[in-house]
């Protein structure tokens, strides 16, 4: 039976290995560092040499620690007879399910090569009729505000202009980037510490993810968005009041219609304390919030959260991008959300059923523009801050997401890659060799929070500089003038219908 076969003794009917470690035994110093570092146990030291024993996921840890540079990971050429329809990916899934009989779990965003509309759009630049702006010589602003707006301001005159009181709670970020909700549990203590440290240094927000805020991280609270997810893990009044903003998580792009899933392997003592759940149990959040079965229920929860935080912090809602996203977003704004986070189907996760990750939802590019157009049409767009996430891979994606209609982007995977992640899609196994998506102390200690934080800071600072370069080239000196400015985008892909839906003109179409 499949359960009885150890990972070392492959069953005859299992799928063949995907990766193979090749060792140059002449160069090898036999220090065994690679063997010790391989948390997937894909290497053994046998007969005086390093031997791959199967199970390599190409996390790349061994290569980076090898002092002799004698290792190479090879992608094993397909061992399957060619078939374009029953391709290797399909056959591997079948074999895997035949071996285990379960719902296949995976992590990170989908690896299927769906079209990426970000890669099918070009940006505009200023020529002759308006001057481009050099961000090194002139001011180009990227300050981004997060919170609800009233749509109008009461200004009074009394010898000078004044206003009575602040209309709503508002947070200023130095750049239109938020580090997404990556929970303590899905990632390690050191990883979350690094992300929070980076957020503080960058003066941006970072999501806490589901599961509360560890007491050590309370000093980071002014940069943290707390999350109320369907499991309500770690949610206390203190948690909500302490943080800069509160987000009610309805859905996540990687698993729309599905609850959070933290495998028991990752529920260590630390996690059990923060989440307030028993050690070693799977933390499975319900699919819906069991007090939100409709929009009016959401409105009530928004009111409850606003009351309990005394209207001092913005309260928002995160939803996965699904087909009717425009109407859903409109309902959420009308229900009183100060911000909406839309998560596209390519978004990442620490654990999700593969079937949902790969086949459910809406690409974020389309979701952003549909929501922006819908909210504009209903006169609501200037009441709410819109975050968009779900595979923002680069500053180019960020800039295009903003031009399509997002106020700011939510980024997770790119921050993880900056910290060492190789996107090997094994987070759910809890043995991340880089110390990120794991709770094992010997692995967690591999991640230096200060080094990791610095790398995230460098990454987002460089993105922000690139944003300024593009804004300046467009003759725009403040990022808010790019939000939803689809006039400055052109579609350059095979499907003009999608351009029409996104409200983006085709390349070659001018302004007049």
């Amino acid at each position: 039976m499949a359960q009885q076969s150890s990972s070392k003794r492959r069953m005859e009917l299992d799928a063949p290995e995907r990766f193979m470690l090749v060792v140059d035994h002449e160069l090898c110093k036999k220090c065994k560092k690679c063997v010790n570092e391989c948390s997937f146990r894909a290497l053994e030291f046998v007969d005086g040499g390093v031997k791959p024993v199967g199970g390599c996921v190409a996390c790349g840890r061994c290569i980076n620690v090898c002092p002799a540079h004698c290792l190479e990971i090879r992608q094993v050429p397909s061992q399957f007879p060619a078939h374009a329809n029953f391709n290797e990916r399909v056959r591997r899934a079948i074999m895997s399910q035949a071996s285990t009989g379960g719902v296949l779990l995976t992590s990170c965003g989908t690896d299927i090569g769906y079209p990426v509309m970000f890669d099918e759009m070009l940006l505009d630049a200023a020529q002759v009729t308006n001057p481009a702006i050099d961000p090194l010589r002139e001011v180009v602003e990227t300050t981004t505000f997060v919170g609800g707006r009233k749509g109008r301001l009461e200004v009074k005159e009394n010898g000078r202009l004044y206003m009575e009181e602040d209309p709503a709670p508002m947070i200023a970020m130095d750049m239109p980037i938020m580090i997404g909700h990556i929970s303590l549990g899905s990632v390690s203590y050191n990883a979350q510490k690094a992300l929070f440290t980076a957020a503080r240094q960058l003066n941006i927000l970072a999501g806490s993810g589901e599961g509360g805020l560890h007491k050590d991280f309370h000093p980071f609270a002014p940069n943290v968005v707390s999350e109320i997810a369907s499991g309500r893990f770690g949610v206390t009044g203190d948690y909500l009041k302490r943080t800069a903003a509160v987000e009610i998580k309805i859905g996540q792009g990687a698993k729309p219609g599905h609850g959070g899933h933290l495998p028991g392997e990752k529920v260590s003592a630390l996690i059990s304390q923060t989440r307030m759940i028993p050690l070693g149990t799977d933390a499975l959040s319900p699919y819906p919030h069991h007090d939100i079965y409709s929009i009016e229920d959401l409105q009530q929860l928004l009111s409850v959260v606003k009351e309990s935080t005394e209207y001092k912090v913005p309260v928002g809602v995160k939803i996965a991008a699904v087909h009717n996203i425009g109407a859903i977003a409109s309902g959420i704004v009308r229900a009183g959300a100060d911000f909406i986070t839309i998560d596209g189907f390519r978004g990442g996760t620490g654990s999700t059923p593969r079937i949902i990750r790969d086949h459910v939802g809406l690409p974020i590019e389309v979701a952003i523009s549909v929501v922006d157009q819908r909210l504009t049409k209903e006169g609501l767009r200037n009441r709410v801050t819109v975050f968009a996430g779900g595979s923002i891979r680069s500053s180019a994606d960020m800039i295009k997401a903003i031009a399509l209609g997002a106020d700011a982007v939510m980024v997770c995977t790119a921050a993880m890659v900056a910290m060492g992640c190789r996107v090997c899609q094994q987070c759910h196994r809890g043995v991340c060799s880089w110390g990120i998506a794991t709770q094992r102390e010997e692995l967690v200690s591999r991640l230096d929070p200060d080094v990791a934080a610095t790398r995230v800071v460098r990454l987002f600072r460089s993105w922000n500089e690139e944003l300024k370069e593009i804004l300046g080239a467009m003759g725009i000196d403040s990022v808010e003038s790019l939000v939803g400015n689809r006039d400055r985008l052109r579609y350059f892909g095979p499907n003009s219908k999608i351009a029409e839906i996104m409200g983006v003109k085709h390349v070659g179409e001018g302004w007049g």
Binding site: N130, V155, N382, S481, W511
Partner: protein, 414 residues
Amino acid sequence: MLARRSARPSTGLYDLGADDDIGLPVPERYGAVRPPGLNYQMGGCGIAGCINLDGGRISGDVIARMLETMGERENGLGAGYACYGLFPEHRDEYCMQFFFDQEEAKVKVEELLNSMGGISKEERVYTHRVKTMRPPFPLVWRYFFRPKQKLEWRGRTDLSNDDFMVQLAMHVNSDVEGALCVSSGKDMAVFKGNGFSYEISKFYDLGRYSGKMWTSHSRFPTNSPAWWGGAHPLSILDWSVCHNGEVTSYGVNRKFVEMAGYRCSVLTDTEVVAYTWDLLVRKHRLPITAAAFVMAPWYHEDILRLDPESARLATWLRLTYKEALLNGPFSIIVGRREPEVTMIALADRKKLRPLLCGRSLDGKSAYVASEECAVRIVEPGAETWTPNAGSPMIAQVGKGILRTGNEHPFVGGV
């Protein structure tokens, strides 16, 4: 000495004389109907304005000379003038001026006006054939109109007269084929068309009008067709906007006014600027300085240097109205009649387009223009200055120059 425009040396394609003489294809020209496929127009321009601060009258010849002097700033694809305080005998009625491409459009508009209120006087706006101008020549008509006492617009009975007039003008512009409402304010009118500034001033015989204030605009469009409707000033109610520049945030600014119910029909950034002024000042009751700050705000880093109260207000103005920030280069002259004839001149916050103000030696007149020559030609001894980037110059009949644009903005009040 530059008054004889037609003798000016040629520099551009459109100055080469009659285009068919040199074998160029004759581009399509449009009157009231929007050119097909047009979805945005832009260009460089010249702007000029003058106001009599005592409420005396200025002849149309004055503004024509100011504008025509800046011949380098136009290429014959549109010019226009707005005059305020020119119909004292009809000062309480909305003066609606239209372009009509066909008689049917005129009939439709008249039916509409008669069903919604009363026309106390209607007349053909005097136009004078100018040899160098080319057809089409839309019919230009003027109605002095007063809405019904008990107004109903598409089931709504809560609209003020001004709101109703906005709806009416936008309805005509969007839905009545062949008709375009050029201006609709009380005691003001817009005279514009497709041609050089000197042609348009002759076409309307501007010398026959005199008013308390004039604003004007000549176009150097870079990529848009010759269209009478697209010429400046763009006007809604008593607002008129003459605009030199290219707003790089048009898509965002347009959303801002559309969310408030304005329908964009001319599809220029200038139209959106006019609606923005109406929305911010008339509907949201922002003081003019606050509205100007919204359109050309301080940088956040500079706001932080203000006193805490001013910084708080400035920040909230910016973020509440962030979609109204006019990005990119612009200088604008804005005219308004309520509560008193007012001229506002504003340049973008980086001052990427020229703007110069002037005051006559007797202090009775104020001027605004793209270039100093425009002021000097009518008032050689005028005192002139350039307002700061993003700082409005405001002049009002009866009150004088309220703001020169050189004040430290924001702090210390209005």
